[in-house]
Amino acid sequence: MLLVPEINEVEVRFISKMLSRLVGEMNAEVCDQCGKCSSACPVSKEIEGFNPRQMIAKVSMGRLDGLLKEDAIWTCTTCLKCRERCPEDISPYDVILILRNLAYRAGYSYPAGYDDFIKGVKESGFISRPQAVRGRGGVKVSRADLGLPEVSGPGDMAKFDGVIEGIIRAGK
């Protein structure tokens, strides 16, 4: 059984529901291991070891813990081609997203870039503040230089972030 520290009831309920739904789907629509997902996957062509078919096999055998520690779950581009190709209507895409949620919650490693995105939303409402952008000529230009209006953010940031923190803490 996977031990997930510091996890709130809302997340547990959500993740449990998603996992049971996926397992339910896979029980009804058994994966034949035909490999159409892996052969369609644009990442499998470039990264040896990234294999949606094998991931589904591991999930259906309950071998979650090893999967959660693998870098592979972070290299999916979420293009949904696997989901489109599956003749049994299984969605490796959704499975991978849930594995990411579990890995994060279990405290396993994940790409650091995600923390920057969350920090950006906490600070400004968006994944980053507007940057000055360099064009082909090498000159940096801001939004205002282009005549674009200021970004209209969430307004009261303390309140905005307070509601989010409330959701994350909810159920504790």
């Binding site: 959500f14 990442v43 062509k45 290299t75 581009t77 939303v121």
Partner: protein, 289 residues
């Protein structure tokens, strides 16, 4: 035709050319864009990892803001579009999730009532404005150009959400053809550009982009047209890091966003369409138009 305009994080903070060109062409085509005061990230690229409920709350919050404005959302971002569609369906199907989201929205005096619809910019251009009116707006027809297209995965997948251009996307091609240019298929057309992998493995992400760019270059196209800001950034700015662009600059594939191309055909100056920000060699396209 009035919409609550939701450009999403990438156009707002970095890909200003997508934002500037969309505003210019939509304005001239008679589409009113209202700024969504109070809006934020939809959560798809941020909280989806750490707290899926927060992701869904953020998407619902933006939908609630649009409903309060009395307009449907128009977004030019494929990821935001998918997020709105996916979360909208989950809120309709899952009363428990809706209860959590409603409680959180109430703290800001907001309400989710599913009244605001969501349109991808390609849908507005193709289905609501229509190809005929777009062709009529062209003052510089793109005769003699042949482009590859990159619609972006989240405009036509997944099938169960009845996406606006799925499962065999043609709308972007028809929008390009409405300007007088030709389009044709090429190997890997419906493959991902590699963009979402940049957070985890930038080098591999560029290898995925490279396969597509090589295919476009080998096909002898004048360039690749995309309508997704994520694909645009990866194929355009990311190209310098791919094998396809190694060696002389002449090997690089011109990458242009659809609203930039439409703007050129409508007679806007390149600067107003943000074409000075394209890192790929689009000078040849600009000169020929």
């Amino acid at each position: 035709m009035m919409y609550a305009f939701y450009p999403g994080c990438l156009s707002q903070t970095e890909m200003f050319s997508c934002l500037a060109s969309a505003r210019e062409v939509l304005n001239r085509l008679g589409v009113g864009l209202q700024t969504m005061d109070g809006s934020s990230c939809c959560g798809y690229q941020s909280y989806r990892l750490s707290s899926p409920v927060t992701w869904k709350y953020l998407t619902a919050r933006n939908l609630a803001l649009a409903a309060r404005m009395g307009h449907d959302i128009l977004t030019n971002c494929n990821d935001c579009y998918l997020s709105f569609r996916k979360v909208g369906k989950e809120l309709a199907d899952d009363p428990h999730l809706k209860g959590i989201v409603d409680d959180a929205l109430r703290l800001e005096g907001l309400e989710y009532n599913a009244k605001a619809g969501v349109c991808h910019i390609a849908e507005v251009l193709h289905d609501r404005i229509g190809l005929k009116r777009i062709t009529e707006a062209v003052v510089k027809p793109l005769k003699g150009f042949r482009f590859a297209t990159q619609p972006g995965c989240h405009m036509f997948r997944p099938e169960e959400l009845a996406m606006p251009d799925g499962p065999e996307p043609r709308k972007l091609d028809e929008l390009v053809e409405a300007l007088g240019a030709e389009t044709s298929d090429y190997p890997h057309r419906l493959d991902c550009c590699g963009s979402p992998m940049q957070a985890s493995d930038e080098e591999a992400s560029l290898r995925v982009a490279d396969r597509k760019l090589r295919s476009v270059r080998d096909g002898g196209f004048d360039g690749i047209v995309t309508i997704c800001p994520h694909c645009f950034r990866t194929l355009d700015a990311g190209q310098g890091g791919t094998g396809a662009a190694s060696g002389d600059e002449g090997k690089r594939v011109p990458v242009i966003h659809y609203t930039q191309l439409l703007g050129l055909a409508m007679g806007f100056s390149p600067a107003r369409l943000g074409l000075q920000f394209n890192m790929s060699p689009v000078g040849g396209i600009i000169d020929r138009v």
